[in-house]
């Protein structure tokens, strides 16, 4: 099974600052998808951003962007201009192109301070 590793259990950032959350994964596949999901306290999980492995261009969604390094099997999430509403658990996830078994990391808890 593919392994997704998030090495930062907790991160803290001040409002308006930038923070980067790390994720590495292990796979022998060449075609797959990577995701970052946000799970606020007691609220449901929502998709933040997604990256197709065959695309070299890094995905961006407003203040959220990724640094996808396929050879290094690294997929970090950068949050710019952090807001209090960004505080949540962030999960990195891997999906094979076959569509089976979305594999999640253990998550990074992001705290945003005023």
């Amino acid at each position: 099974a593919q392994t997704v590793t998030q090495s930062q259990p907790e991160m803290s950032v001040q409002e308006a600052e930038t923070v980067t959350l790390s994720c590495t994964y292990d796979t022998s596949e060449s075609d797959y998808y990577l995701f970052w999901y946000k799970q606020p306290p007691s609220r449901q999980m929502i998709l933040v951003i997604r990256q197709e492995a065959y695309k070299q261009q890094n995905a961006t969604e407003n203040r959220f962007s990724v640094n996808f390094q396929k050879a290094a099997k690294s997929f970090s999430l950068k949050i710019s201009d952090s807001q209090l509403g960004d505080a949540a658990m962030y999960f990195c996830a891997y999906l094979e192109n076959s569509g089976y078994a979305l594999n999640f990391g253990k998550g990074t808890s992001l705290l945003v301070t005023p």
Binding site: Q44, M45, L47, N97, S98, Y100, A101, F104, K106, G107
Partner: protein, 116 residues
Amino acid sequence: EAGVAQSPRYKIIEKRQSVAFWCNPISGHATLYWYQQILGQGPKLLIQFQNNGVVDDSQLPKDRFSAERLKGVDSTLKIQPAKLEDSAVYLCASSLDVTGAYNEQFFGPGTRLTVL
């Protein structure tokens, strides 16, 4: 568009009792997933349905867990009998399809199960 609905939101039972969770996916979504999220961990896939057929249940503890998706829409997940280690949030998700541009999974609010 309505999201993924789950009920109940919370459930407390004693060990060895049985419990059932219900999920209604987004209309038109062919693929439905059940995940188990233990406190402090990421979700782990229990079972995946494509329409009303099972495509992956390799991590479902089949001696006590069962799931069905009748008519390819709603789904129920059952635990019988429950153990202490089953305490977790059970998440349901759905997607249009499994591959390509349609594989984004939308999650429900989850059911928090506490086994005493």
